[in-house]
Symmetry: C2
Subunit: 460 residues, 2 copies
Amino acid sequence: MADLKRILEAVDCELDRSLERLFGLLRIASISTDPAHATDCRRAADWVAADLADLGFEVGVRETGGHPVVLAKHLDGNRRHVLFYGHYDVQPVDPLDLWETAPFEPRITTGRDGIQHIVARGACDDKGQLMTFIEACRAYKIATGTLPLGVSVLIEGEEEMGSKHLPAFVGAFRDELAADVALVCDTGMWNRTTPAITMSLRGLVYEEVRVRAASHDLHSGLFGGAAQNPVHVLSSIIAAIHDDNGRITIPGFYDGVEELPADVKAEYAKISPSAESFLSTAGLKESAGERDRLLIEQISTRPTCDVNGIWGGYTGPGTKTIIPAEASAKVSFRLVGDQDPDKVREAFQAFVRARVPADCAVDFISHKGSPAVSLPYDHPLLTSACRALEDEWGNPAVRVGSGGSIPIIGDFKRLLGLDSLLIGFGLDDDRVHSPNEKYNLASFHKGIRSWVRVLHALSQ
Amino acid sequence: MADLKRILEAVDCELDRSLERLFGLLRIASISTDPAHATDCRRAADWVAADLADLGFEVGVRETGGHPVVLAKHLDGNRRHVLFYGHYDVQPVDPLDLWETAPFEPRITTGRDGIQHIVARGACDDKGQLMTFIEACRAYKIATGTLPLGVSVLIEGEEEMGSKHLPAFVGAFRDELAADVALVCDTGMWNRTTPAITMSLRGLVYEEVRVRAASHDLHSGLFGGAAQNPVHVLSSIIAAIHDDNGRITIPGFYDGVEELPADVKAEYAKISPSAESFLSTAGLKESAGERDRLLIEQISTRPTCDVNGIWGGYTGPGTKTIIPAEASAKVSFRLVGDQDPDKVREAFQAFVRARVPADCAVDFISHKGSPAVSLPYDHPLLTSACRALEDEWGNPAVRVGSGGSIPIIGDFKRLLGLDSLLIGFGLDDDRVHSPNEKYNLASFHKGIRSWVRVLHALSQ
């Protein structure tokens, strides 16, 4: 423990220089979706590679067909081996006029509450977050001359454009990427003083459904009252997906959905936000979800269905008295636990087909499908990681589910057999993807200290 | 009756010249919606005016702000007075390449079944039809030197563009247009050998409804399971409009809808087409309408509701995982009997509002509204008109309802207090508004004879 204390002191001593380095990375406008910034993306990759090389990593900037990947290794005998993942690319900055200062000129501001923030595009997502890990490694090197376990670092440059080339890269270099567990710093805290480990990411099934009736749009005066209207048919199908309690009625849909462990459920009952507070940023007050579930379950550990778009018939200004020939909807499902995307897709299609009258035809376009990813609640490293976070923050780490997806996490599991510990220090008010993105100085500083403690715990 | 026989003989003798005159009118490309044909519209008006002047009518070509109206009068003492309505304008001819011969070069063709047709744009709608009436007047003049009752003729030039200026014209010249009944030749026969009188035209209420939930589109991963989805809300509302028997569930909707007289219902039971035969042109087989109603009722004498268009959220290619902020639909109702458009509109809005959850807002755009128009089944002139038609065709005239609307008929009732006898000789296969429009030679010839008999009957 004397060692740990020395390393944490190194973090504190180094903080100003850590910030300087972070600012250096933040100054690079590595917007991956904008071809005009391709050179900036490569500069960011080179910057990260150089910094890791300084720390004694064996580093390569690898080509992918898109923006390059930085792959770095600091291996040292037969100890436990972690693979850290982050991304150097950032979101576009539009609308630029809403930024209070230039997005790629990072600065420290002090809020009305006296809290200090780092403000820049990427301050949180993901440059600030990934540098917490690299600076933790640096503190180890400064204080001990080495790292406490084997560390590989994979920093990609296409996360904000869907990690297009990464699965192929991971598949092609699976041997080089072998590790015992993946560490990811791209998620958030529970709140400003309570750390969190993200236990699960929801999967996705995305279907487009088209209902066709007459061979062409019909005159609603001549045919109204007799001809089948596909908008009515599609509306009835959509209306039937949820029952009055917000539960999805598609047979077999909940197969593979487990109840939370009792201790997690008890913890959730204490910490779940109210619908009113959670939904306030959306201008809403009441949950429309499953009635017998906590809000935190509804948005993270329970599967859902949403119509993402619907269209059919005349949608221009004024009136047109037709019975449309067809109507379409995009319908997506968020999956949890062991729900099988293929089975959910089939069950949905069967549900729709059973509700299409004889005179109508239906067809489907199957878009994305990915299963949920989750860390087992009894994962051997979870307890020590949680304790390390509690030691730093003074509050127990909350084990949360995320409602969204980080597809590469599923690929780590599928291609490399790796579970991921998702530990991040972002906050809900960080304005990620929006103007004036920020990262609390405390998130950065205590984030570095948190990784020091987690690496220490994992090395035991 | 000797008189009547002589007049009918005059029709037969005059037929070749009647056709020549019709062809003269058909050669004028009076497409009202195309500004390039404005001069042609005026030429058609002048042509009709000159023809009526030849018959001894006092004629004026009146300005309306759009294409002119022909107003002609042949008044003769205190006898019964009819106002005949028709239109000289025609639909555009696109797609031109589907016409077998030029649309404004009329010709007689003989079908495979040996039946002769007049082929041209306007052959049926409405030049052929309106000339049946004018030629009937001519036969009277040839055989008797006069007309058997007072006749006013109103021929407009904007029917195919919604009769934009006609209601104001009718309102402004209501004294000049005074009559005992309106006669209209712009509808069809029941079939090739059975004449029909159209007893009713459905009214219309057209509403646009928008349901709004969140202040902006939400990420379906972060908010899915909690946030209200306006597409789900709108779909549930649309699904609730009809019950399992196809009946509309909006409270008060059927107020003012009367059952048919028993004799009409009995007649309908004999003549109603099957759903399969009626819907075959639409590529459909089964009626989606009220289960306990005859198909003929469903499409003509019963009120209906159809969604004409729906839209919300992401409707482009591929996927976007949002919960839409809003969803909209265009919803229209066909009205019958004494249904009040304002009350139907209010009842629909109340029905929607009652189904919008607390977190959603709803707003409406109110488009068209017009009541149904109907001729009372006990109208004093109906029986004699029916008998006159039966005398010509050998089959009893069917009293039918039309599913669509001819708005000016409502204006005749509202502004002039006039009931309308809708008698026409079009057939379902006349390709009205389509390439190769035709009018059976028999429709034209026996149509003229029919008007001779109807005028004779009405003059008694």
